[in-house]
């Protein structure tokens, strides 16, 4: 009798288990086989041609923002970003309308921005801009921080030279399309300054310096450093993600930029 109870309880457990695993197996197979429903399409450019019509319009100042999350305004709890505050500030210098097209993408690296610029899809935007704001490189440098190991120095040098090469190429392309626009490059700040990671601070300083050298010979370009402004104001200017600026931080960056551009915009 006991033997029978045992047999049936075993059988019961086995059947439950079999049902469970078979159902799971079918689901797993269903979800990972079969044809791909959406074929991944290449990046589609939408109507960028139309947005170029304000070129030569003497009544507007066109600002184009290119680059990574800092360009886009990630971290700003009011979602205005550099572009929003910059518009406010520049209005004090000119009576013209100010339009901003923000093409920033989170996580963009210098290589990817180069691809964007090279592909020619941004040509209309670039050609119609009076001011081109670029923020790039932060994500390149962050990769170093996420790396561990003894060969950090070499990894950094490698990254930096690749980045500098890409940035040179980017500025060259931008200049090919538009040689009159003012180019503003937003320098990197160190969000980890208060954590005392000294290697990283050193890297960033080198990085910023090397970047600024690119813009030295261009009389219509300026490198705007942000490092010094953030260093002692981390708590005020950094968003809760401990990486991006918050709305005050973006306001401060926009202020730095608008000060550098004051005379330029007044004479536009």
């Amino acid at each position: 009798m006991g033997k029978n109870i045992m047999w049936f309880s075993i059988l019961f457990i086995v059947l439950i288990s079999l049902f469970f695993v078979c159902a799971g197996f079918v689901m797993a197979v269903n979800v990972s086989t079969g044809p791909v429903s959406e074929v991944s399409k290449p990046i589609v450019q939408q109507d960028l041609q139309n947005s170029g019509n304000s070129f030569n319009d003497p009544k507007t100042v066109n600002v184009l923002i290119l680059g990574d999350s800092i360009a886009k305004g990630t971290g700003d709890e009011t979602f205005r970003g550099i572009g929003g505050y910059l518009t406010d500030n520049l209005k004090n210098y000119t009576a013209k309308d100010i339009t901003v097209s923000n093409l920033g993408i989170d996580g963009l690296k210098s290589g990817e921005l180069l691809e964007q610029v090279k592909s020619g899809s941004l040509n209309n935007e670039i050609a119609s801009s009076d001011i081109i704001l670029i923020s790039i490189g932060g994500n390149d440098l962050l990769e170093i921080r996420r790396q561990t190991g003894s060969n950090l120095e070499n990894a950094f040098k490698e990254k930096q030279s690749a980045y500098i090469a890409a940035l040179k190429e980017i500025t060259k392309k931008v200049r090919e399309v538009n040689k009159d626009a003012f180019v503003v490059f937003v320098g990197l700040y160190n969000p980890y300054d208060d954590q005392g990671v000294n290697d990283y601070a050193q890297f960033m300083s080198d990085w910023n310096h090397a970047t600024s050298l690119i813009f030295i010979d261009d009389i219509k370009a300026v490198f705007v450093p942000t490092y010094d402004m953030f260093k002692l104001n981390m708590d005020r200017y950094i968003a809760p993600d401990n990486l991006h600026p918050n709305s005050t931080g973006y306001q401060m960056i926009a202020q730095l930029i608008s000060r550098s551009l004051e005379d330029v915009v007044v004479n536009m």
Partner: protein, 336 residues
């Protein structure tokens, strides 16, 4: 004698032999150790996770998540986004929304995530090993012990005896899977809490032309994902069980039988290092055991290898194993 009675007889023989308890005991001890280890490295796990998700472990995760969610929604509207990345964003947004709605910190480990991870990790060695312990002596044990004669003299045809043994293996494997699940949920729940049943998990990755395609990915609740993982794990168990069943039929001594299957398993796993350049090892069953990698998307895709391929290869191995076992066993000479 009916097949049903033969199977029943075999199952009770297995229970009597304590082999089943050893298998379950090993599984239990390893699960406890694994859960305890996981519990101790929880801080580091969180740190790794926070690096990946972009949340600092110390900061207020709700605020950060909300911020990221809004960012993602804005990015999805960007015209510079291809479908692959858009699908990624959509899935991530769904997950974040869930974490926010249910007030679950994404960095927390739960019993369900632990059990899923555990079986994924053990797919390559632990699970096959358990199945080898379970099944490697089912025929060879009778041969070396001479008890096979007692079975044969009862006038039951040989294929029926072998079939009953095979069915027993299949059933007991399901039994072991059941207890492994119960153990890992039960034990890890003590450490991490019994939650995670509805937490979304990303799946639906596909491999097309050697590339991981993410445009079809979806979120499924944790319990469903757990089921999928165990379903695939059971399939792996059946494959390994069948192969060791075959070896057990071919070899007389249990020790030799276990040794052969073990070295096949380890040797075959080493061969998988050459998968990318050398096509032959991919037809070996060990190269295809990590089935869960296909649903978790955590694989380094190799041209020509996808879920369909691996399942086909493994099924062929099952069929060959059964065929060889039966062909050999019904013909071999056994002195009565």
């Amino acid at each position: 004698m009916k097949l049903y009675n033969l199977v029943k007889n075999e199952v009770f023989k297995m229970i009597g032999k304590k082999r089943l308890y050893i298998t379950l005991g090993i599984a239990f001890v390893i699960i406890v150790a694994f859960a305890y280890g996981q519990y101790h490295s929880l801080d580091r796990t969180k740190e790794n996770l926070s690096k990946r998700i972009g949340i600092e472990a110390t900061s207020d995760w709700r605020q950060v998540l909300q911020q990221q969610l809004i960012d993602i929604k804005r990015r999805m509207d960007s015209p510079y986004m291809d479908d692959d990345r858009r699908a990624n964003l959509r899935v991530r947004a769904e997950q974040m929304q869930f974490y926010l709605d249910e007030d679950i910190n994404p960095l927390e480990v739960s019993a369900v995530t632990f059990s899923t991870k555990f079986i994924e990790q053990s797919l390559l060695f632990l699970l096959p090993l358990l199945m080898i312990i379970l099944s490697a002596d089912i025929v060879s044990g009778e041969l070396s012990g001479g008890t096979i004669k007692l079975l044969l003299v009862r006038g039951v045809s040989r294929w029926k005896i072998l079939l009953s043994k095979y069915i027993t293996i299949i059933l007991l494997e399901a039994l072991v899977m059941f207890f492994v699940l119960i153990f890992s949920i039960g034990v890890s729940g003590i450490f991490f809490g019994y939650g995670g049943w509805t937490t979304p998990v990303v799946t639906g990755f596909k491999v097309v032309a050697g590339k991981l395609v993410t445009s079809d990915i979806v979120n499924v609740p944790g319990w469903k994902y757990l089921m999928m993982t165990y379903g695939l794990a059971y399939f792996v168990a059946v494959v390994v069980g069948s192969v060791s069943f075959m070896i057990s039929t071919l070899v007389r001594s249990t020790a030799a039988s276990i040794g052969i299957v073990l070295s096949t398993l380890i040797g075959g796993t080493l061969l998988t290092n050459f998968l990318e350049d050398w096509k032959l090892p991919r037809y070996f069953f060990t190269a295809n055991l990590r089935l869960t990698d296909y649903i978790s998307g955590s694989l380094n895709p190799i041209e020509g290898m996808d879920m369909t391929f691996s399942l086909t290869v493994l099924s062929v191995w099952i069929i060959i194993s059964i065929f060889v076992s039966f062909a050999y066993f019904t013909r071999r000479d056994i002195l009565v």
